[in-house]
């Protein structure tokens, strides 16, 4: 799991909509992300082609990360769910 996303940042970004999508490394803002179980899991075709388990957490990341936000809610909702889970 990723650490270091502050409550203040989440509040500004998700609730107030003040900030643009973070350029932090998440599978959910990588070019290769496709929804597998919204919003928690994604299917990565790069991993699939390399014969690796292609189903990964939206909040995960790997060395192939290539920032290309799709203007979708995946990361935002995965972060919010994760934040709620942590209380």
């Amino acid at each position: 799991m990723r650490e270091g996303v502050s409550a203040k940042f989440l509040h500004e970004w998700i609730i107030m909509g003040k900030r643009s999508e973070p350029k932090e490394r998440f599978c959910g803002n990588c070019r290769h992300h496709n929804v597998y179980q919204y919003p928690d899991l994604i299917l990565c075709f790069v991993r699939y082609q390399k014969h690796e388990d292609p189903v990964v957490p939206t909040l995960g990341c790997c060395e192939e990360w290539d920032f290309a936000p799709q203007e979708c809610f995946c990361l935002k909702e995965a972060l919010r769910k994760d934040n709620e889970r942590k209380g």
């Binding site: 597998y36 179980q37 919204y38 299917l43 699939y48 082609q49």
Partner: protein
Amino acid sequence: MKREDFLRKPVVPMKLTPRMSVNRLIQEFSNSGCFGAGRVSSACDIFERMVRDEQCTIFLAIAGAMVPAGLRATIADLIRRKLIDVVVSTGANMVHDLVEALGGHHYKGHWSVDDFLLYKYHIFRIYDVFVPEEDFVKADKAIMDMFDEIAKENEGHNFSSCELMWEIGSRLNDPKSVLRAAYEAKVPVFLPAIRDSEFAFMYRVHSKRHPAGDFLKVDTFKGVSEIVNIAERSPRLGMVVLGGGVPRNTVQHAALMAEKGLDYAVVITMDRPETGGLSGSTLRETVSWGKVKRKADKTMVIGDALIVFPVMVAAVLERLGDKFERRGLG
């Protein structure tokens, strides 16, 4: 023709009653005999004659999102009852069949929704049907996994689209699936435009995953001989077309190449002939190519196939009764 020849059949006003059956309603359509009602009643009569003709091979051509909109179980049922001998479809309809066979769903939506909002939620829209991306992606992964397995089990074999659809159908458990029903009933399923579907886009990923060349081999031309051979073997040929496009012409051209032409034809479409596109081309125009016989039993219904086809099938099933059995292509 004399004047009285034009005035032989008066329009009989429709009489609608409580609890009337679908077939009874169609008979009232026939009494009217006008506009769409007349054509729908003719379509029912022609489909019934096709089904009762044991010498006729019946092709069902499917274009447009018929499976996402809820026709898959109807088509699977027709296949199991042997009321259809051959299916010719867009690749997309069979991909959507796979989506549901794997536990995914299509949802009732609305055409006026904010499409960019759908995009943000990873939801695809087909007019007023919604498909969540995850159901599509799970089908994508299943397709690629099946391609791996099929390639391994059939090393070097060149598959036609029809052979490939049976392989996929054999791996499904859903009794409502068109592909499963076709595999069990040994009804060929041709996808003449398979390259324009998720099967082909996932084929690219699958093939790149096997750089040594041990990936699935698909020969898109192989299906031409297969479908023409079926047409050549058949004493008579009939087609029911939902939409049009490549599936309709694939059936028509098979009839032409078999040097026969179609004996029966029902086309249900919303398309117009003025653009020159095949989907809207009239059956009279098709006669000029030799694809449909001049004296063929034929009609074209201008209407939504999602309304007309189920009504037609329900009426004909009612006429046939529970005990009717058809031999099928065999």
